[in-house]
Symmetry: C2
Subunit: 332 residues, 2 copies
């Protein structure tokens, strides 16, 4: 025993135990052809010693770590959490570990997280960020979610434009004629802005007028309250169909309308965006445009690990679908 029993066994130990050379052991663990008898001896010895490859030593040598990083705003919000869950799952299936860092929507934290994981020699980064000009290594694979970043960085998003169109079309199909678009956001330009554009395009196409209101996250919900109160006359609401840019907003607005005596979906029908479900159940919070979380995760991972990084798409929009969830007058 040249090695303290507490230390983890190394290839050297395995080689000694198996009575073969170090290189042979390495080959076995890299699936490089080796005499079957040797292979068995090595595997036996490794098992006996409880040996596992030290991926730090391997990473040092190969510059390949089988680790990806997720730079994420939060795991609190169900949409981010479920997308993170799916991405981690996809990466695991491809044999990748995932380092998760959380930015709390803070631009500086985003840069810090990227620096941190870069130092850790990750093989790639999937990020959902709010800082438009992050300093990111041009030859480190990078996939952005929901924001176009810069040339060469592919962006994966749901088809926000179609989602907006779909919402408008559904509301109109369900009989709404006085439409309202409500939006709440960070002020950072992202793919999600296209929800509005799609909605407007569909309204214009049908020659239906609509109003819209956009508020920054920081403003809270008070301005919405004021807006809603302003548009109720004699117990009647000015609108009969609302598209909210998130399920969260849809839920809050619904509560407020009910508090004002306006009933959903009897008086006004509402559609949200995201497709968030309660707990881990199937139940939606509202009728909504569902983002294809699993497909987005799969696409982001495929893009990240794509060997040929010379001709990546700039933007991939994945199809959304509508599902009733109680805030519209179609069956649930």
């Amino acid at each position: 025993m040249t090695r303290k029993s507490t230390a983890a066994p190394t290839m050297k130990d395995v080689a000694a135990e198996a009575g073969v050379a170090l290189g042979t052991v390495s080959k076995v663990f890299n699936n490089i052809p080796v005499g079957e008898e040797y292979r068995v001896r090595v595997l036996d010895a490794a098992h006996k010693l409880g040996y596992r490859v030290n991926s730090y030593a391997r990473g040092l040598k190969t510059n390949k770590t089988n680790t990806a990083a997720l730079v994420w705003p939060t795991l609190w919000h169900p949409f981010f959490a479920s997308l993170a869950d799916a991405i981690v799952g996809c990466l695991m299936k491809r044999g990748y570990r995932t380092i998760v860092t959380i930015t709390n929507y803070d631009s500086q934290a985003e840069q810090r997280c990227i620096d941190l994981v870069r130092q850790n020699k990750v093989d790639g980064i999937i990020a959902l960020t709010y800082n438009p000009d992050l300093d990111v290594d041009p030859d480190l694979p990078f996939v952005s979610i929901d924001r176009h970043f810069k040339a060469g960085v592919p962006c994966v998003a749901s088809d926000n434009f179609s989602g907006g169109q779909l919402a408008a079309a559904k509301l109109i199909e369900l009989g709404c004629r006085r439409l309202l678009f409500l939006r709440r956001g960070s002020g950072v330009a992202g793919e999600a802005d296209k929800r509005r554009m799609g909605f407007e395009a569909a309204c214009r196409e049908k020659d239906l007028p609509f109003d819209s209101l956009y508020l920054l996250d920081e403003a809270g919900f008070d301005p919405f309250d004021a807006f809603l109160a302003e548009h109720i006359h004699g117990g009647v609401f000015d609108y009969d169909g609302i598209f909210c840019n998130t399920d969260r907003l849809c839920y809050e607005i619904q509560k407020r309308l009910e508090g004002l005596g306006i009933h959903v979906p009897a008086d006004v029908q509402m559609i949200g965006y995201d497709g968030i479900r309660k707990f881990d159940s199937d139940e939606l919070f509202c009728s909504t445009i569902i983002q294809p979380v699993d497909q987005m995760a799969q696409t982001a991972v495929d893009l990240l690990l794509d060997d040929d990084r010379s001709s990546l798409p700039a933007l991939i929009c994945l199809p959304v679908r509508y599902q009733p969830g109680g805030t519209t007058r179609d069956s649930v």
Copy 2:
């Protein structure tokens, strides 16, 4: 230039650029005292070259990776997601990266995840598992959430017993006299079982009888439906107070009761457990016993990174609190 411009700069490059020896550069990055003039030169050179320490090389040498692993059932469920969020946050504050692995409640996946991160030479593991006999390295710091694992592995949990007591006491205080305990679970013995024990203890203390029903996750909600239907006679429910072992269950049962014409909280008051909130808002799904997520995360991380691992507590129960959430007749 001995080095391709695409490759990341190394300490050697920095040393050359700064005109100092390799060791000096290393010292600067390890906060080992060095002549101020040298320090500045090194830092300048490093900045100019965009140098960052290669943590794989460092880890190889020091056997310390500044990385911890989270072995987690899922990020889908809001409780797990918020706890994961908090733990990742605490670890980041201590300068640690977090590798997140997801088991989907699968025992074999749990073992695979542990093996995977062990190979990655993490400095410690925080796990929420369902496999009672995982093979885990005895000298790799390990903290278990919600399950007592084995000797030497500290467990962090909310004070489930007190939570159960508190729920019973609250229901009784609010006028309930015919109590019911409903439980759904994986069948794996964990700290959460103590919710029942606390509830029972409080009932006994007050000399109030109670019924209880326990179902495995796999059974779905049908048996609950049957039970509920069985206990409604002439539109009147046999119970006027229910403690459910999770918010999720509480929510589902409430829906079902309302569907049967039993109103919550008018006819029956209900308390759940977890303290899950809607989206990232403050709103609860039901009146509930709130788990101290942030404190649990902080405690788990402190325990994991504690230098003195010789005398760790076997179990730390953190205080819960009750908060009304609309399913009880106290003000919200």
